[in-house]
Symmetry: C2
Subunit: 236 residues, 2 copies
């Protein structure tokens, strides 16, 4: 049976096997939700960067630039970190270069994976189907908050574990911790996440509409995959 | 309101505030369960060491030496890592020097705390009462398994969170992840832990009796506290 692993914080990634695996990167609030919404709404390509400077330079190459630090849009950038920015019909057909506090850093730490795909509640069933079709072990990498374990990414890991568990076997305890945490909260997911520390930070920034949207299941059927440094709709 | 934090792996400890806090170190299978059982059964003092050599030297100073690596007793040591070794009436009144794979390392990383106490299911209510009496924030440090998050320590963190939550407020999301994981499993704690990766490793070593014992609630009312490098029964 194929193995399923969960890395609850990018700071623990050296303890987990990456090579030869499908890596599902998740940053529910809001990087990977934005990436899903963007690719699902006609953005042709999203290039993630861990640092601001490399991201800004992409402007010269015809990219829109999207930047977030500590929950807020970076000054001078075209887009912030709201899924609604990424779904704006005016941006259809565009390419985006993006950097965020946690999500793009988690992608950077996952680069040794065989396949790197983007997971969010917005495309969770599509992700589950995608990995079911591959004959490969899976590692879910939670972006967390500045290295700390966070609730919403752990809940996504638990929800995806719940969906694929019959076909995959946990290789350590983290999938079980995430799974049971999710099972305990799934009937009031929004309420629990609104009570979490990151959501409390974001609520101060007045983006509860974003939070509510990022917790919706299956708004999109796309699976963004990182190939050659850019996220595009996976053909699989 | 006082803050409650949970560090799910010693490898994440640099992200958590330690100074000025009560640190509850937990390694359910089996270091902190042994320490509780030992101090609760008349062992006068337990000195934890992160490395084998320092531990062995204590033999000359009249200590029994207890050593475990990868779940097994170290050759030539007086005790292994079973709570029953620590409860042996023959050892009453003795002092023990101990080193284990995960638990003693977690203690070493917690040394900057204001108070360092030992938590296990065996003394969980005593620990809850002890920290309620202190006017101080609390950090629960899970020993995990070689840096990885493990189930039984996360469940203890969740169970203690459940007990003290009305009086303490979580300072990050880890207490919530642990809490809901515990609430989802508490009716079948033993079954879930037996299915976890560490317990599966230990079962191969034929110590299911230890595992069953380490998941019992409130066999002891002692709270071992680290003072001057040695664990003794806290007078508080």
């Amino acid at each position: 049976m194929r193995g399923l692993d969960v890395c609850l914080s990018p700071n623990l990634i050296d303890l987990h096997e990456i090579e030869g695996r499908v890596i599902v990167v998740v940053d529910i609030l809001r990087a990977t939700s934005c990436m899903t919404a963007g690719i699902g709404s006609g953005i042709t390509e999203i290039k993630p960067f861990a640092d601001l400077d490399s991201c800004v330079k992409m402007k010269e190459h015809g990219y829109l630039i999207a930047g977030e630090r500590n929950g807020q849009k970076v000054e001078g950038f075209d887009l912030g970190n709201s899924p609604f920015d990424y779904m704006d019909p005016a941006n259809q057909g565009c390419k985006i270069a993006v950097t965020t506090t946690n999500g793009t850093q988690a992608i950077e730490k996952s680069l040794a994976g065989e396949h790197i795909i983007i997971g969010s509640f917005l495309n969770i069933s599509a992700v589950a189907n995608w990995i079911r079709k591959k004959d490969m072990d899976v590692l879910i990498v939670c972006a967390g908050w500045k290295g700390k374990v966070n609730l919403e990414d752990s809940l996504f890991a638990g929800a995806l574990t719940d969906m694929i568990m019959p076909e995959f076997s946990p290789v350590c305890d983290a999938p079980l911790v995430a799974l049971h945490s999710y099972l305990g909260m799934k009937d009031n997911l929004l309420e629990h996440v609104l009570d979490s520390s990151h959501a409390r930070r974001l609520r101060r920034l007045n983006i509860s509409e974003d939070i509510e949207y990022c917790l919706r299941f299956d708004e999109f059927t796309v699976v963004p995959e990182l190939v050659g440094g850019a996220l595009r709709m996976s053909a699989d």
